[in-house]
Amino acid sequence: MMAFLRLLARNRLAAFGGIVLLLLLLLALITPWLPLLDPDVTDPANRLQTPFSAGHPLGTDALGRDILSRLLWGTRVSLAVGIAASLVAALVGSLIGIVAGYFGGRTDNLLMRGIDMLMAFPYILLALAIVAVLGPGLMNALYAIAIVNIPFFARNIRGVTVGIAHREFIDAARLSGKGNLRILSSEILPNVLPIIVVTLSTTVGWMILETAGLSFLGLGAQPPQADLGSMLGEGRRMMINAPHVAMLPGLAIFILVMSINLLGDGVRDALDPRLKSGALSRPAPITRIRRGAAPPGDGRQGRADGLLAVDDLRTDFEVGRTTYHAVNGVSFAIGANECLGLVGESGSGKSVTALSLMGLVASPPGVITGGRVWLGGRDLLALPPRGIRRLRGREVAYVFQDPLSTLHPLIRVGDQLVEAIRQHQPLSRPAARELAVSLLDRVRIPNAQRRADQYPHELSGGMRQRVGIAMALANDPELIIADEPTTALDVTVQAQILALIQRLRTEKGTSVLFITHDFGVVSQICDRVAVMYAGRIVEIGPTAEILETPRHPYTRRLIDCVPRLGEPDNEPEAIPGLPPAADALPRGCAFADRCDLVEPACRQGEIELIATDAERRVRCIKPLGIPTAASQGESR
């Protein structure tokens, strides 16, 4: 509760709305004791006085009644009626929702069909029909507004209740012999209460508005009783001669409803956990780049290394006040027609590394805080957004993990390909379409012509991933970044996709950055491999050598995780412990806590990547199989 109030107070607009509302409520409560003129005493001699006239700070109405006094009394009535209507609607609606959601079956069916019926009427119309039957009057308007709002509560609460009613703790309560009534009041109600509060806080403004509306139409408060709506309705007749008579009550309704809505939005945001985490931020078209003054390294070094060179790349996630270092100074290079594997557990930073290269890390919260990415002599991170966009898909293309969520669900796969082609090549639509079909054909999709007209959900998982690959190939890129392209697929399809990538590599001479957590896959396709742990490369070198003689203890554990065919006794061994939290990386080796060879020196300071063999580097002071490497190593 305190946390909730604190969240609410932090939202300045909501706090403002809350304060205004509190003042209005207070004013309404103490109105009877304020030194006001009687709101109903008429004084025809002083009719239609303008505001600021003697004795009547806000003037008088057509019958000479004091507007200030009527305004305060009217606010009192409007608030009372609006809140009462909301409470009635909340009570009845929630009750219906809870009962329908908890008991389910025919009860649910019957109740919800009734609610659907009510919702089939346009909102106000039903209220009008009810008032027509009950006759005009404030209480009847209250009932009418309450009834038409019942469906909102019933539907919202039912949805939540259904979600809760099938949880384990409800089953447990039932098994322990608790009756339905006790379960409803002690288990269900506390859990749906926040939703009731949210629905209430977002509808009470509406209900005040609508009751005022009925009074405005002459169907609510009847003279001499007055609420803000009926005052507005009476003022309408002299709108042109004495506008203040109508404007003031309207303004009062507006301020009242606005303050309630401000507060209501605040309540909803504070109670909606999704908004709390900031998850609803829109990712910018390109990752934010905030590099320090002089990033290390120069252009020449990058170019010398081949097609792509990454130099000391750093990417952070800034969530609230916490900074997570997802990529923590990663450097590697990929030569022409080379396949480099990037291996690590989930959370090791391998995907973020791959997405950083083309500025595709969601931002916020992602920020690239340092390093360079060289592609053909250009530092990609120094390019303007338009420059990076032109390279995306044309020189560097991506294949993502889950093709169901990464292909657009409402666009035919052929059109998605055509779009990728036409973005970078000046082709007519039919020509692009022809190319698209031939691409589908090239990735071995049978019946490509027909498949091109289908939607992603109509294809199988393997088929979808082939479409993803075809899309990456659309503009003959120099580098394909494949981010766990086979993880979501079953083993046979996995093998086919790997074979496909391998074949395209030899045919087209494309380079591949292949990201995976599976050393088995690496051994099939990668020339070299880089092992990542806690946002850093801990070992890099030719695949065969690393598989044969891993130098880093972590690499060895990863390789041991791969089950070997024909060796059923060789139970793959999980690595004990968890990687360190990315917002609190330890000094020294990040793997120290999980390493069985750890010694005090491992935790003392920064450990550099050191060369152990001709083409290999490892970030370990005691590399496996090399007794005295620590003293011979040169940094980087």
Binding site: F121, L280, H408, I411
Partner: protein, 315 residues
Amino acid sequence: MTRYALRRLLMTIPVLLGLSVIVFLIMSLIPGDPAQAILGSYATPENLERLRADLGLDLPLPQQYLVWLGNILQGDLGRSFTLNRPVLDEVLERFGATLILAGTSLVLCVLVGVAAGIVSAVRQYGWSDRLITLLVLIGISVPAFWLGMLMIMTFAVGLRWFPASGMTAAYGGGGWLDILHHLVLPAIALAVVAAGVIARLTRSNMLEVLRQDYIRTARAKGLDEGRVVLRHAFKVALVNLIPVIGVQAGFVIGGAVYIETVFQWPGIGRMLVNAISTRDILLVQGGVLVVAASYVFFNLCADLLQHWLDPRIKA
């Protein structure tokens, strides 16, 4: 698609029956003698007697309902005692005027709301987002009837740009330009609230969609941002928004009751309010029934549209 449309069409039958039951029950709950209520206090005893026989008031309730429903299905909604003309004629005439007003408003609020929502989402936390958020908040908090009056004071009485009331000019009016001229103020006043709600939901929907993996794919293809937002993101957001627009149509039709009263628009809302104060029960009943039934059909269309736009639910 055709099969779905047919099935969905069949599904509206129970809804319409349900509507008629509710309307019938509401009207039969009126205390006192329904014949007296229908014919008003000046009715002659002979007319009362005849109407009681017509309505089958001596029959049990379910049979009364069937008689009533049979009459309605034959297009007989009864006769209004205040206007002394068939309810159906009056209702259809008034409903036409309401459709012009509400239809214009709905188009207006969808265009403005969706555009504002997209800008707001794309410029999240920027100044245009803040401005739109503020306007939306004002829009959904302002009483439409009060806003209408403000507009009359400013643009009709003050600036004299638009007429303050009615649907056509008293002399020499009636052309579509004349109607359009009369339509501007009430249509805008009526659109404000719904535009606010639609803008708000468009914004949150777009923000939700823009986080999806397929948007990242679109960006990875090198598409320019305009295309990513309008073609890829909005396409999905629109499908989610259609039911919202359907609900808002209900609010627009309901809100027309206030706006028609403020602007003296000869629509069904004003007719209903008058009919309620004169206790012309048959007129109320006919009006409610026709508007509710057309709202059911509007939602049917929204459903079919959503179905047509989203191939995933075709299966």
